[in-house]
Symmetry: C2
Subunit: 472 residues, 2 copies
């Protein structure tokens, strides 16, 4: 299925590449790594896309390292690819034209925390768990949780979100300002620490979601929240996906500020029961979390339970005890492993689409029917408050027929979501895997605009070439 | 003070302009207006900037009208300026190089409302009050309230916000997708109705805040909210601006979801007392609004009153009766008129800056001291939850000395905000008036990037030339 790479940027001239690597070796010594094993680790993709390793990896330690790598690459017209934790899902860190990977894991400092302003300034390589450990003593936290313990630079670059975006927004809503290394190695500052600004074009949000194709993020200023006084978790089974979706719609319409609301379809619940030794009713399930004061959380839970009952929900249990909450969410967190266990040895391809919430029940139901028709297995979990859901498609990579049906399923899933007014990706990004769907979603004019922006900010096409924008 | 127009784009050739107007007349008949009075109305600026009328105005009725105006203007290299209600504050609708103004007031239709998805699709000329009247029966509303009854296209273009941004965000947070007419008259679709997307560069947020310099917004998809069950208003006097700011910081840190929190400094309270025949203590005042269920609102009010007391706040009164709420907010809504009444005949120049909230008390206090030192009068109102505040500077335009002191004050205000990590404008935009401050705020690299984006999307420089990006 490497055929889904629709964009094939040209490799640099061998002499130019050699010259770049020589200059990098002189500058970085043993922080320039060309071993095959390390290169392969940096082309790790959790998709069907074939890995495409870079020619070398530089371990960056400070901003000036990024600047120098970019300058050397620009001088030699060699691609440069930023790397955080390699947990992106659509081939974002692949190097289809080779080039230099900048590994940012060591740039993981918290540079400043401003609890009164609810913001902090960080380096791009810090992961969300490390950040939240650092912040905990100050009573604040960074809410975006995409599942993986991703780096914040990577999360900004893919416009990541996750389970609590329904309350706290996505990376788009939580990045205040960036510093970005541009093609000549100089640094663009995109904003200030003020919560609002109308000062010129929104450069911040142009770089958020740009997947490293317009420059390399060297510093982020992000929003924080106060740690809630009380957190309650709840679970509620439904007869149908439609009932679960309807309850979600009503909860949001009536303004219940639910912090997490996750849908597991019947097949996913079966997988969880089997993997986590649970005995949940094998019907669609909502897992919820409420944040607030003790009274607020009690009222939110009560209001939601009434809505759930109206929509065919079963017993509604909620708890504020940390150990009970953990138990309740374990099934959700283990969803990936539970799917893996359904067919040991088979590949699991994770994909996501997002639709207006009024169409979510239709989209999930039709997708379940399509899976049955195509004789494929793919449990479904959804960030149902946002209309966003994930299929975890099981496929034997050696079974050509199944792989073909799998590819067919993926195309149809995207087309279904787009026909319902949705998008080909709610949170995984375009990378290589979803370029072919952009035109149908936004039209040729939007692609023209994206190409013009890429050309304007990266005229040499050195930043992560072959991603996002399909070749014209 | 017209000297503050730092950007002087070239006027089109007379023959090209004549040719464009001829073609527009043939296409639009009496919807093309060249009378001086109408042209002057479309250069209305509520600033010190000199009005610069366009050469003609076209009254657009549908998207194809915008497309044809743009095509005719592009063919003749004539500027084209979008006009909503003319309530922008930094010369955004001025025509420094002449050209054609497209008046969008008749494109004011609600094209679709999706209450389950909490979104609607509208034409750009609809004003926020008209929109909310249309929506009321469906139990939903659009929350952004910049004060003026502005058009939604204009609000998106200036990235407007206002009193309840602290809870509901700004236009940046509430626009899901746009249709934008580009230089060849074709239409760019920037997004879908799905609440989240990671599908490519964030075109939506590039056009939000672009002040019509990159294309003309012909359609918006915006987020709505459920009308809250209960709304409570409250007022609380403080000994000092610092106490009021500290109460605000604590309220936000502890997660009280206050819907509005407005600061009036002592001088503004004096002006309101005099104009609205009130007898409020003439010390800094916070006006608040809480949205939610009856219980939620009661708890929010109680929690805030405890915080206020700790921070030196006086009596805290809250009410949910609509007539009492209206009375309480009347003083805030009449703030502009109360300032006007302080010195009949003098001009009132409205300006805004925004700082991290931890610096707000410093910034307001130093600004008050500066006014005293410069012998100037300017009541202050602030969207204190966002760190954003407005000065309403009274100046006799015929008094050159006072005008010079006023200009000095404005420069120092912006420099003070920027030195505190803030921005030269939280919600009014750059337009013509604040171009000179962008470089100090973001650096030359950000300006380079903005110029490159302008060049990429509007290579002919026909869209609202002379705005946002200072000449290189």
């Amino acid at each position: 299925m490497a055929t889904t790479n629709t964009n094939h940027p040209k490799r640099p001239e061998p002499q130019a590449l050699a010259s770049a690597i020589e200059a990098l070796a002189a500058r970085f010594g043993n922080r320039l790594i060309t071993s095959q094993a390390v290169r392969d680790q940096h082309a790790h993709t959790t998709t069907w896309l074939a890995p495409q390793p870079p020619d070398a990896v530089v371990m960056a330690q400070e901003t000036s390292d990024i600047q120098d790598v970019v300058r050397i690459c620009a001088k030699n017209s060699v691609p440069v690819i930023a790397f955080g934790t390699g947990t992106s899902l659509e081939g974002q860190v692949n190097a289809p034209a080779g080039g230099i990977c900048i590994d940012l894991r060591d740039m993981n400092q918290v540079l400043a925390v401003h609890p009164e302003d609810l913001d902090c300034v960080i380096q791009p390589g810090i992961t969300r768990k490390t950040l939240n450990e650092h912040l905990r003593d100050q009573g604040v936290f960074f809410p975006i949780d995409p599942g993986a313990d991703a780096s914040l630079g990577g999360m900004a670059s893919t416009r990541a979100s996750g389970t609590n975006a329904v309350r706290y927004g996505t990376m788009r809503d939580n990045v205040l300002a960036l510093k970005v290394v541009r093609g000549d190695g100089e640094i663009i500052t995109t904003g200030t620490r003020s919560k609002k600004s109308s000062a010129g074009y929104d450069l911040t949000h142009l770089f958020v979601g740009a997947e490293g194709t317009l420059g390399i993020i060297s510093e982020l200023t992000i929003k924080l929240r106060g740690i809630p006084e009380t957190i309650a978790a709840a679970a509620c089974s439904f007869d149908s996906v439609r009932g679960a979706c309807q309850a979600t719609i009503l909860a949001i319409q009536t303004g219940i500020p639910v912090a997490r609301i996750e849908l597991l379809n019947a097949e996913q619940v079966r997988a969880c029961n089997s993997y986590s030794k649970l005995s949940l009713p094998e019907t669609p399930l909502l897992l919820l979390e409420f944040h607030g004061s003790e009274n607020e959380v009690a009222e939110q839970s009560k209001n939601f339970s009434e809505i759930a009952k109206e929509c065919g929900g079963g017993d509604f249990t909620w708890t504020t005890r940390p150990e009970d909450r953990t138990k309740l969410w374990q099934a959700r967190h283990d969803a990936y492993w539970s799917v893996k266990a359904l067919r040991p040895g088979a590949g699991v391809v994770a994909t996501d689409v997002c639709v207006p919430i009024s169409r979510l029940a239709d989209c999930v139901t039709e997708t379940e029917e399509d899976l049955k028709r195509l004789r494929l297995q793919s449990p479904i979990v959804g960030h149902v408050g946002d209309g966003n859901f994930h299929c975890s498609l099981l496929c034997d990579v050696d079974d050509r027929d199944e792989m073909a049906r799998g590819e067919d399923f993926m195309h149809r899933l995207v087309e279904r979501a787009q026909a319902m007014g949705g998008t080909c990706t709610g949170e995984h990004g375009i990378g290589q895997g979803k370029q072919k769907y952009l035109k149908a979603e936004l039209g040729p004019e939007a692609l023209d605009a994206m190409r013009a922006l890429k050309q304007a900010l990266d005229p040499q096409n050195i930043f992560n070439p072959g991603k996002i924008v399909p070749a014209a």
